[in-house]
């Protein structure tokens, strides 16, 4: 763990604050996502994904380092011009909001987090449609389903959604190992899971 590592940040910042910072805008979410998949520098991210100016990208990287989401792995070009120095980072973990963490946040912020997740998913689906990856022969899943459950059903649903999410992270690790052994070309995948209480049913519209 580096000096800016997760352990120190965990002690310095409540997890809810760290999560909030990681998800405060879609650029940070995108940087963290890419750094979880592979080592990345601000310059490389900017060259491959854009996201505004290079200083803006660097600022976002620095903030993610400060809050323990990114860890420095190596530096290239040391000894040369300061602007030529390239720092590479990896993501320390997925920014998962679990029940306890969400409860630490003010109500208004909890709602904001949901908005950010939907916005990021929408943006990624647009990219997938534009690139044609959503229309290939591979399966895909995209559903928005209203349900009306009792307390028992709600508890079971949340438990199942949580379980699928944590299973995905395990599957990610297992797939990394299989890919390392087989040399199979990895498939970039986006998965989003949301379950929340809706307002009561609308009254009769005009």
């Amino acid at each position: 763990m580096s000096d800016n590592g997760q352990g120190e940040s965990e002690a310095k910042w409540p997890r809810a604050v760290r999560l909030l910072e990681a998800n405060a805008d879609s650029l940070r979410s995108r940087i963290l996502a890419q750094c979880i998949l592979r080592e990345m520098s601000p310059r490389r991210f900017h060259a491959e994904y854009g996201g505004g100016t290079l200083p803006k990208i660097r600022q976002a990287f620095e903030l993610l380092v400060q809050y323990g989401w990114l860890e420095l792995t190596r530096t290239e070009g040391e000894g040369g011009e300061p602007e030529q120095v390239e720092r590479f980072y990896v993501g320390t973990e997925f920014p998962v909001f679990d029940h306890g963490t969400l409860d630490e946040l003010p109500d208004a912020t909890q709602a904001l987090v949901a908005g950010v997740v939907v916005e990021v998913l929408h943006s990624r689906s647009r990219e997938a449609l534009k690139a044609g990856t959503m229309s290939r022969s591979r399966d895909r899943h995209l559903t928005c389903t209203p349900v009306e459950l009792d307390e028992q059903g709600w508890n079971e649903l949340i438990s199942r959604v949580d379980s699928v999410f944590h299973w995905l992270l395990e599957e990610f690790d297992a797939a990394k190992q299989r890919i390392a052994e087989s040399g199979e070309e990895p498939i970039p995948v986006t998965v989003g899971l949301l379950a929340f209480e809706s307002p009561p049913r609308p009254v009769k519209p005009r």
Binding site: E119, C144, T145, E197
Partner: protein, 203 residues
């Protein structure tokens, strides 16, 4: 997993086309996946133009296998008329063979529509303060790199969760009918799709 598409000798694509041609029909199937309703009770709760328009939409959905009759009732305020109650046979889902041949513009429209629906539901829940009314809810998204086996497993898990929702809805309806417990309206959004290897530059 039980495939509930084959309720008629009508191609599923045609059934989907009939359903998607009218927003009212989509709304009816969505609501009748949750509970039993008659054209009159649907109209009383959600409108839909006129009772005759709603009845015609119900008739078409029955003809194309989206709805099935559960019971009839007479008496009371019906003044001799018979009220027919229905439930949806299954949710409207694009399966691989129905999704793949669609033109790109239609895929974009459908996917965009789902996310708009999603965003609208999040906004409504934020405005009504229900989004954080409960201690437990789930908001997450993850980018993953998977092999084919991992992808197959992931899609199977997400699909299974989606289909389980409807089984659980049926069981919850039975439990609530016995206990009188008030239903909790919820929105469940599930997304799993292949992302581009190199995301296009954003401004």
């Amino acid at each position: 997993m039980k495939d509930r598409r084959h309720v008629l000798d009508v191609p599923y694509t045609l059934r989907l086309a009939k359903l998607l041609a009218d927003e009212l029909r989509i709304k009816i199937v969505t609501e009748l996946n949750l509970r039993e309703m008659s054209p009159k009770s649907f109209y009383d709760q959600f409108g839909g133009g006129s009772i005759s328009r709603v009845s015609r939409a119900f008739d078409l959905l029955i003809e194309y296998g989206w709805l099935r009759l559960t019971r009839t009732e007479t008496g009371g305020r019906r003044r001799g008329a018979v009220e027919h109650f229905y439930v949806a046979n299954h949710p409207a889902v694009f399966y691989d063979e129905t999704w793949a041949p669609l033109p790109m513009s239609m895929k974009q429209m459908i996917s965009g529509g789902i996310f708009e629906e999603f965003a609208g539901r999040v906004r409504a829940a934020m405005e009504a303060d229900t989004i954080d009314a409960r201690d437990d809810r789930h908001f997450s998204w993850v980018p993953l790199l998977l092999d084919q086996e991992g992808w197959d497993n992931a899609i199977a898990r997400v699909d299974a969760l989606f289909h389980w929702l409807f089984e659980e809805q049926e069981e919850a309806n039975l439990r609530m009918a016995e206990s009188g417990e008030e239903p909790i309206p919820m929105t469940v959004g599930l997304a799993a799709f292949e992302s581009p290897k190199d995301t296009e530059k954003q401004p």
